[in-house]
Amino acid sequence: MSSLGPRYWKSLDELAGDENLAARMQNEFPDAADQTIDLPSRRNFFRLMGASMALAGIAGPGCQRYEKEEIVPLARRPEDQVPGTTLSYASVFELGGWGLPLVVTSYEGRPLHIDGNPQHPFTGDGMDKYEFGRHAGVTPFASASVLNVYDQDRSKSPLTHGKGATFDDFKNWIATAKNDIKANGGAVRVLSEATSSPTIAQLRRALTGAGVQWHEWEPLSFDNERAGLKLAFGKPLRAMVHLDRADTIVVLDGDIFIEHPAGMRYARDWKRSRGPEGSSLGAGKMNRMYSIESTFTSTGSIADHRLPLRSELILPFASALDAAISGGAMPSAEFLNEDKVKRFIAALAKDLNDVKKNGGHSVVIAGRRQSPQVHALAAKINDALGAGGVTVDYLDEEDRPTHVESISKLVSDMNGGQVKYLFILGGNPVYDAPADLDFGSALGKVDNSVHLSEWEDETSEKTTWHVPRANYLECWGDARSWDGTWTIQQPLIMPLYGGVSAIELLSMVAGDDKTGEQLVRANVESQGGGANWRKSVHDGFVANTAQQPSAVALQSLPMTNLSPTQLGGSRLKNGSLEVVYHYSSNTYDGRFANNAWLQETPDFFTKVVWDNYALVGPATAQDLGIGNESMIKLKVDGRELDVAAYVMPGQAMGSIGLVLGGGRTKAGSKGGTSADTTVGWNTYKVRSSKAIDFASGATVSAGDNYKFSGTQEHWDLRHGIDETLFHFNEGDRGTKERMPEIVKQVDHKAYVEGEGGEAWDAREEEEFWKDPRGRNYSLFQEKTYEGHRWGMTIDLGSCISCNACMVACQSENNIPVVGKDQVVRNREMHWIRIDRYFEGSPDDPRIVNQPVNCQQCENAPCEQVCPVGATMHSSEGLNDMVYNRCVGTRYCLNNCPYRVRRFNFLDWNKEFKDARNRVRKLVMNPEVTVRHRGVMEKCTYCVQRIQNKKIKAKNERRDLVDGEITTACQDACPTGAIVFGDLALKDSAVSALQADRRSYALLGNLNTKPRTQYLARVRNPNPDLG
């Protein structure tokens, strides 16, 4: 294998050999990174600080005791409540209408940390031997949702016509309106978010029975699948795929791991059939994944083959694939004759047919935003491949109008004056409803509108009533996971700001005024098949409620008509460009705009924080004459939008990926409070009900420059190693060849034939270890370890770059948020980052993701340079970081080849000292020190968890069991790519993995002896696509 060098690149500037970038990279921090921004003169500042410190020393705190502290025990302690310990409760997080089962950890009554529920029949099923004791994975959205509970921008009291009111006022209003509501059944409407809650369904049946009309709107909807399967099978269905049984997986323009409601389960199933050391398919077998998509998604980044294709071309592509498999006429689209696409389809069809011939199984999955026809074609191909009942099951769905139809009907009724009462349950339709409907002005024509929402947002502003909604961790509720299992939402805390849940509001409207618990409990006890309420609440689900697969028979599909652009080539002229709407990794659909953890988590692939953008491919950008970070004016269907463009390698030609969820004007102090303080751009402004998933015919004109705040060039591992990295010349050849491999990849075939392990060591020996004393020769005295030896393995082959580890780490370790301007200055504080390397051509690159946290080196370079002993080696091999000793020289970061140390340039926690921020402080994990300004910090393998578990085991007079201690990142990882354990135990999971042939140390040639090792990524390419 070739060494790193230009094979891998992180940004287009780097690929082009940009001199400025090389210069920028030489600095540890960009210019002025160590300057405070808010004070004009740094010197004056220090002079003042020095003086005040001296005075403070004389005046006092030095010779006093610590400030007086109080101990405030509960007057009556509930059973099981032990002060200073955590308790975990099962609950569920509903996003986009489907529930993700959770385990929420609570510390003395405060929910603090969120993990997946490993006992749930859907998300917990199939956790493998390396995952003993681990939680099931979570999405970053679910993980970060705990921060919303303590958001002080949440609304605290009802509003009527913009004026403050009380809950009693609202109840009185409902009481007076009750008769009117009953009498005017048809003029009463409910607009709900998509929800699978059986209790809401129950209340809905009662209300619609009384004539109330029910509407549903969700900006990122799964309607197309239901409609498509109805086309294919004659009844509304949803597909449930079993990736653990699939030899070949084909994904048509979809993000099946992060965006898909079943993504956490799909990711695990995918990992199970992925191997390569023993998979669910059998020894030595490994699945092969193809992804055809317009924009890079996690699915495309880990697929063995990815074809960038505009979203609108997926339909002719699917027809062609169908034709290639079951025979029939190929559509006559021009792009299908382009060499690359033609080869791809031929190789894919051959692969699928071969798998079938050899008794294997395949599955084709169509993405959320693809039209019903594509879903129907995917069903047809699956049928031809014999996937039904093996790799795909179909579950019955309710037949209802699509979300677009539903909200369009509501708006036309509102405009027609047929709506007298409108209850909006959650959601933010004024912000995210299709632009052509103009929901906001239609809302003005409704006499009585009620918006139930956690924040006073864009919609609350326009309704006659706003009612605070309880956060999902504060109220009872329920939802179904994708397999239909009835999952219970259990409150962990009383509503901090009052607030009612959706079911409680519906109950008020219906006139019974029951509590959430009564409603859910009555429903579970009557409909749950004799389920025990207490057991269901404890486990988090009602047993045996998963849906059984529906019997289906394929119908003949109607002919598909293709538009001129769908029949054309893959290159498009300005004016006929395609716009594809994406969810945002920072805000999902805009609802997390005020969640600072998510806003500051770098996007999966662009690595941009606190923003949204239009993604343009490099070739398209060149055609349009725009560069990276330039403003563009986008014109779609007569609507215009100013947005910043991000030139994204691998974005399909002619396709512009428009990220939703920015430009909130009433999100809160983090996400924007006015048109001047927005984060990103409101891309909903161009999204119309006619083209809700993607639109064609877009025109782009270039504008000024813009500056993104991103982490792409930060903490580059390669920077310390080779200063000439970014401009290789002929003369630099020697240096380049001695570059160690940072990410290792190996083809499945070569791996089976023995590639890896000793072969790699031998080659490294030859390449780097010219020293005759051999690779183990060390300048330092080697340490010996008698007890535990903590170690970690990160599998590059199963990292889907979902950011769950980053958010979980932030939640566990009290990692501060620094804000957009500070990220520009390299001051982001994440202890674990995900490095994303491109490989290949900018138009169709491959991606490798590499999570990097502190490697806990045995020969740690950081320890050798600390002048005050603030980072010390522990007897168990951890690089302990002692915050109270650190004086902030930053030598350790300078000397860290992995760039994993983070410095507190400012007091990021200053705001918590303000009494007004008391509530926000509650999200802090009391088990971890909150760091102050001027100290260095870094990953410690969650040492608080290690210590607590060690103490617990010894209290119980037993040894620790492998898998008992888990790190936060490990718990959150949906694929189990991160494994932590004791290397001193020969049969521990981490020992087994580190002994694997794929295992290698990052920058091992530096002889740092890191305790974290990586497993090389094994790819399983199709030989025909070579």
């Binding site: 010779c63 405030v72 007057a75 302690r77 032990v82 010390m872 020190t929 607590n948 010894k954 209290n955």
Partner: protein
């Protein structure tokens, strides 16, 4: 003329006098200062007033209540736990039920509002001490808290400095006792008891930074 010139030796004398004049007060100040700042001076004996004049000497000493009757979580959690008012009311709903001194307890219990006790043993916030890790390893309450059974009002007995912690972590044997003697006050370990306990429970106290600092 020459009589007006001081002899040469006064030059040295002048230096010493001025050094003493300037250095002496500085030296004394630093000396007093550092004595005053010494944790032994500063913290041992710290005895704040509590909202309820609870006497350990009466309850733990005279009446012989076991420490764990109130501090229930001391051998299974990090915090020993100050008891809820409900624990007091187990007895005080029967005895001294009219006492004025117990008014805050009754109020707390019936109004379900906590009593605000003042912390006596206060470690810096970056120190993570775990009671259970010590009580289950043969360290008696008395070792750190002193003769609680004789304290009418609790005060701090030990300096609770890092030096003090580490001294014991390096050589725990003199302080170890059999776990059944955990709460015995005035206990004298039998010769060799510490070594035996250390061996039996594999006691090997770590001195890593992350043992206490996270």
């Amino acid at each position: 003329m020459s009589r007006l010139i001081f002899p040469q030796w006064t030059e040295t004398f002048k230096k010493w006098v001025s050094l003493l004049a300037i250095g002496g007060p500085v030296y004394l100040t630093v000396l007093i200062w550092s004595c005053a700042q010494n944790p032994n001076t500063l913290r041992i004996g710290y005895q704040p007033d509590q909202p309820v004049p609870y006497s350990h000497a009466l309850h733990a000493g005279e009446l012989g209540l076991d420490c764990r009757y109130c501090h229930t979580t001391v051998d299974r959690a990090a915090k020993a736990a100050i008891p809820p008012a409900a624990t007091c009311m187990n007895c005080h709903s029967q005895v001294w039920k009219e006492s004025d001194k117990l008014l805050p307890i009754r109020q707390a219990f019936y109004e379900n509002q906590p009593v605000h006790w003042v912390r006596v043993h206060d470690l810096p916030d970056y120190v993570y001490f775990n009671h259970s890790a010590h009580t289950t390893r043969g360290l008696g309450c008395e070792t750190c808290h002193g003769r609680i059974d004789q304290m009418v009002q609790v005060y701090q007995h030990a300096p609770l400095t890092m030096q003090w912690c580490i001294d014991c972590h390096r050589n725990p044997e003199p302080n170890l006792r059999k776990p059944e003697n955990l709460t015995v006050m005035g206990y004298q370990p039998a010769p060799g008891e510490g070594a035996e306990v250390k061996k039996q429970y594999k006691i090997n106290p770590p001195t890593d930074c992350s043992t206490c600092h996270r």
